[in-house]
């Protein structure tokens, strides 16, 4: 146990400022969805939140650089991050649970199989398939076609796996004080992640405009975009974090044994990667 005292920041304006902006963000988003107005509060909230994150993290960097954090503090950050990722795992678990429930229970029931098969009386023409191309009520309409997993999604899988590997190389380089390699591998990771997002964007446009695969395309479209969409959001966040790490590396931050921020971003990135593997298997392939 360390003998130095645990660092407790005196006061901080960031929490209160950030909740105000989050309030704007929420109210703005609510207004946008219900009445169409609300762009201004939404933007205030959005930009403000970004600014707060910058400022808040800057404080933390400075404190860290100033050597205020001891090993115990480091453990607090580690545990905080680890449990945060666990909460993200549960968030995605809800979505995967949805996918499995729909495929294993709901659709067969609607088609007349299993414990609630009488339901088929209501949907005499419905046939359960996955991907679900024709919905129980055909007026909702399923997609016309689905994304072939062995094209762009496969490339994306390779990209993300590769990016996890390059990030690990970067981490090794950091541990061995090889800054040049560190920068190169980190940049490579960012590029791979960026290309992933671009491809994902292309795929979305293709799906939406050419395949009729939209959010409204029945439960297939809904689960498809729910899972890939939230994954995409997480890739974006991961990329922003990694970009910040790159900036810090360029500024000369981090030492071989003091670089938790870097590690945390790596954990996050690997987590996002693992989620993708699950997606690739259960959303695209099977």
């Amino acid at each position: 146990m360390s003998t130095s005292s645990y660092y407790v920041p005196a006061t901080s304006k960031w929490p209160i400022i950030s909740v105000i902006f989050l309030g704007f963000l929420a109210v703005g988003a609510g207004m946008l969805m219900t009445s169409g107005s609300g762009l201004i509060p939404f933007l205030i909230g959005f930009v403000g939140t970004l600014w707060v994150m910058y400022g808040w993290f800057m404080d933390v960097f400075k404190e860290s650089q100033a050597g205020l954090y001891d090993a115990q503090m480091d453990r607090s950050f580690r545990q905080g991050m680890a449990w945060f990722i666990f909460s993200e795992v549960m968030f995605f678990a809800a979505f995967f649970g949805t996918l499995f429930y729909i495929r294993v229970f709901a659709l067969p029931w609607l088609d007349g199989e299993g414990a609630k098969g009488v339901t088929a009386l209501l949907w005499p023409d419905f046939v359960a398939t996955w991907p679900l191309m024709t919905t129980p009520d055909p007026s909702i309409g399923g997609p016309d076609a689905i994304v072939n997993p062995w094209t762009l999604p496969l490339i994306n899988t390779l990209l993300l796996v590769a990016s996890s590997i390059t990030l690990t190389f970067a981490h090794h380089a950091l541990k061995h004080q090889d800054r040049k390699k560190l920068i190169n591998w980190l940049v490579a990771t960012l590029v791979l992640g960026g290309v992933f997002l671009v491809i994902q964007g292309i795929e979305y446009v293709h799906a939406w405009t050419e395949l009729g695969l939209t959010l409204q395309a029945g439960i297939y479209g809904a689960t498809f975009f729910l899972l890939t969409g939230f994954h995409g959001v997480h890739v974006t966040i991961g990329l922003i974090i990694l970009a910040v790490m790159l900036v810090r590396v360029l500024k000369g931050h981090f030492t071989p044994d003091q670089h938790f921020a870097f590690e945390a971003s790596a954990w996050y990135w690997h987590f996002v990667d693992v989620v993708w593997i699950g997606l690739f298997l259960f959303v695209y392939v099977f």
């Binding site: 029931w109 609607l110 609630k116 009488v118 339901t119 009386l121 209501l122 949907w123 129980p136």
Partner: protein, 358 residues
């Protein structure tokens, strides 16, 4: 007047073998819980009494004892197993819907029930029968306040009836305590349940799943009758349906329309637009002196609103709920009641023509 076989403060034993099984299961488990409570609270209060500091009690020093801890883990476990065995048996019976004599499809609507006798080609809506004046306290409440309907579900005794439950909008739950049936009606899915009623009688229940504003006002009335009465009733219903169908073709008088319209209005419309047509603006517009209802130009829009509802508001479409005669009557009523003076009539034939056009 009691609504069911309940004593007023306990579950009703009910009138089916399942309901009675459930009742005795309830009583057994209740008494087990009472016994546990007596023992637990007995020891507790005795300790509180016997080891008071004010009486000079000195604390003992023990704080662990594996033997007692094992015992008080094992004993509750055994008690629970003893409870689970009969519960499992009853549950299995409840789930056996095979070999039914009659199938009835029950559909929940906001806020009424629809019953369809699957084999009989007979179906109807069942609405709250209690007048609004009782609800608003303008009139004394009757014995079956909120538990009476206009068209009860009629079934024969001694027959296995299979219920199929579904919903037209939100989730409701069809619950009749005396039959010990409570099943959610899930829109787009069907749930099953069954009963064999032994005793003739009227059994009352309510919707048991929050389904919006008038959740409290969608009761259930099941009339269990002998097979003969049931057959007669079926015959009567068929005749009424035939008359209704014929009625939609003939010309109705103003009085006929107004008379029928008033009943329909009070059942379907008054909850929002109020019995006197004053509405509750802005959510529920007033119909009294409403331009749409007193002018010739408003007529089409008026009919359209009743038939197809108003999207984005709580005005539902009635084309699938009400018969053409009902629709014609209620529109006529709205145009001529409370001092509204459009003076025109809407004929059932007009409505059925409009409907067959789409």
């Amino acid at each position: 007047a009691a609504i069911n076989t309940s004593s007023g403060w306990n579950l009703p034993p009910g009138v089916t073998s399942i309901s009675q099984e459930i009742f005795s299961l309830h009583m057994i488990i209740f008494w087990i819980c009472v016994a546990i409570a007596v023992v637990v609270f007995g020891v507790m209060f005795w300790s509180l009494f016997a080891y008071r500091k004010s009486k000079g009690a000195k604390p003992a020093n023990f704080h662990e004892n594996t033997t007692v801890e094992v015992i008080w883990t094992a004993v509750p476990l055994l008690i629970l197993i003893a409870m689970a065995i009969p519960a499992t048996a009853t549950l299995k019976k409840i789930y056996d819907t095979s070999d039914a004599d009659i199938d009835i499809l029950v559909t929940g609507y906001q806020w009424r029930w629809h019953y369809q006798y699957v084999e009989e080609d007979l179906s109807f809506f069942s609405n709250l029968g209690t007048p609004r004046s009782q609800i608003l306290g303008e009139e004394d409440k009757g014995d079956f306040y909120l538990l009476e309907v206009d068209n009860p579900l009629v079934v024969p005794v001694g027959k296995k009836i299979r219920f199929l439950f579904t919903s037209n909008d939100v989730i409701h739950a069809w619950w009749v305590p005396d039959l010990a049936i409570k099943k959610d009606t899930i829109p787009g899915f069907i749930n099953e349940s069954w009963t064999i009623i032994d005793e003739p009688g009227t059994y009352r229940g309510q919707c048991a799943e929050l389904c919006g504003r008038d959740h409290a006002y969608m009761p259930i009335e099941v009339r269990a009758v002998s097979q003969e009465t049931y057959d007669e009733w079926l015959e009567e219903q068929r005749q009424m349906l035939a008359e209704d169908a014929a009625g939609s073709q003939r010309e109705w008088t103003m009085d006929e329309l107004m008379d029928r319209g008033k009943g329909v209005y009070n059942t379907y419309c008054a909850a929002c637009h109020q019995a006197d047509g004053s509405g509750m603006p802005p959510a529920f517009p007033a119909l009294k002196n409403n331009p749409m209802m007193i002018t010739e130009e408003g007529r089409d829009a008026h009919i359209d609103a009743v038939l197809y509802g108003r999207s984005g508001t709580s005005m539902p479409a009635y084309s699938g709920t009400l018969s053409v005669a009902d629709i014609a009557a209620v529109i006529t009523y709205e145009r001529n009641a409370w001092g509204n003076d459009a003076g025109d009539r809407v004929q059932p034939s007009e409505i059925s023509e409009m409907l067959s056009d789409d």
